[in-house]
Symmetry: C2
Subunit: 229 residues, 2 copies
DNA sequence: ACCTGAACACCGTTCAAGT
DNA sequence: ACCTGAACACCGTTCAAGT
């Protein structure tokens, strides 16, 4: 389970092995010592290819961010942003440690190019369909849904395997009579109640449709104020 | 800076000191050894009042969750949920380490009473105004906005003090010509562009209003399907 | 140029021994 | 019943010494 290849150590190989280690063993399985062992080398050698652990973490986060799709010009702004968000969510699901890293970066100084490029793209597409004011808040709403929903989802982490255990334990701790709504909700998760609607996309559409509607308040004006500076 | 009081050590005092330590020094400043020192005791003594560090963390998370307001019966469902969400966001802002803890709990087995009580309450109020299907997804959208927005906000952590530094460093790393939208957005943050609208509440209203509108699709029916099982 | 042994300053936790 | 010293198995990181 170590010393797979004998090719020379490079930053690229170090990052690749680190990503693999985090993917299979979880975030806390990734230590400099274990990573070194995986590469058939002592932990201290890694510092020849990586400044420190923070640099390493930013490096593997970058690999995940690069997996996220940036749709081309042919797609309308809302569809393009929707596609990107779905793809970002999928990438974070493939690497469950990455979202926590994106939200709590080891160093605030270390800003990745890909992060700025994605932000620039998102703002540009938002401005295609929205006012300055709505684009400003729309970015916040969109970004916080992508990372927020993913983190929330991961923390509950209901998978096909553990869902039975989780429900059983819940029912043991909290009798159904005292918490009927919660009991019902857990049951709905078990029976695949919401399977026809993806939960991530449901919230995403609430946001995107809401933004679009606020931009065109001509039909049935509502109390909410329009995009005023 | 230690041995403030000589009263006997209790679980309550341990949790209180731990919360204070995390509040002022950040999450990583909270170690069993430092906490012991703060209480004028060796780290090992803490294990007489707390099962382990995970138990300690769940304990201080509980204190924060208990700060969140649960509005009474007199308020309409949407206003009540809005008030709770705003209060939850405020509590997490007062204790910036707590939201990360809520989303990445030390142990998935350890479910707090207050968490179930809040979930039961939220589901009940959602059902007052929404179908079963919308309440199911509404809970996910609402919860993920509360924790998600807060985490996103904390990760950017733009405060009155550091906002100048952040902007200056950004401009040094990423020239304005290459990233005009992002530059504009950063500038808007600096000039308080969005100060008239709270960013958390903006996203919250997109979700709550969207949920309500989907429940009453009689006016101007849209393509989105109604709350069908 | 790259790797390593030894060392440092930290962690959480256990357990026998003290009072 | 509560506290502690010593110890264990871990961390990230530095640095002089090796090749």
């Amino acid at each position: 389970m170590a010393k797979k290849t004998r090719s020379p150590l490079t930053r690229e190989r170090v990052l690749g092995a680190a990503l693999a280690l985090a993917d299979e063993g979880g975030f806390e399985a990734l230590s400099m010592r274990k990573l070194g062992h995986e590469l058939g080398v002592e932990a201290m050698s890694l510092y020849n290819h990586v400044a420190n652990k923070g640099d390493l973490l930013h490096g593997i986060l970058e690999l995940v961010l690069l997996e996220m799709e940036i749709p081309g010009e042919g797609v309308r702004w809302k569809a393009a942003l929707r596609k990107h968000a779905v793809s970002a969510h999928a990438a974070y699901r493939r690497h469950p440690w990455a979202c926590r890293l994106a939200v709590a970066p080891p160093s605030l100084d270390h800003v990745l190019d890909v992060q700025i490029r994605q932000m620039e793209w998102k703002l540009g597409r938002l401005r295609e369909g929205l006012s300055e004011h709505l684009a400003y808040h729309g970015l916040h709403a969109l970004d916080s849904h992508i990372t927020g929903f993913t983190l929330w989802e991961l923390s509950h982490n209901i998978t096909a395997e553990n869902v039975g255990d989780l429900a059983a334990r819940f029912l043991r701790l909290f009798p159904a009579d005292d918490y009927p709504r919660t009991y019902e909700h857990v049951e709905q998760h078990l029976t695949g109640f919401g399977r026809d609607t993806d939960a991530f996309e449901f919230g995403l559409d609430l946001i995107l449709d809401g933004l679009e509607r606020q931009h065109e308040p001509q039909t049935r004006p509502r109390k909410r104020r329009t995009a005023a500076r």
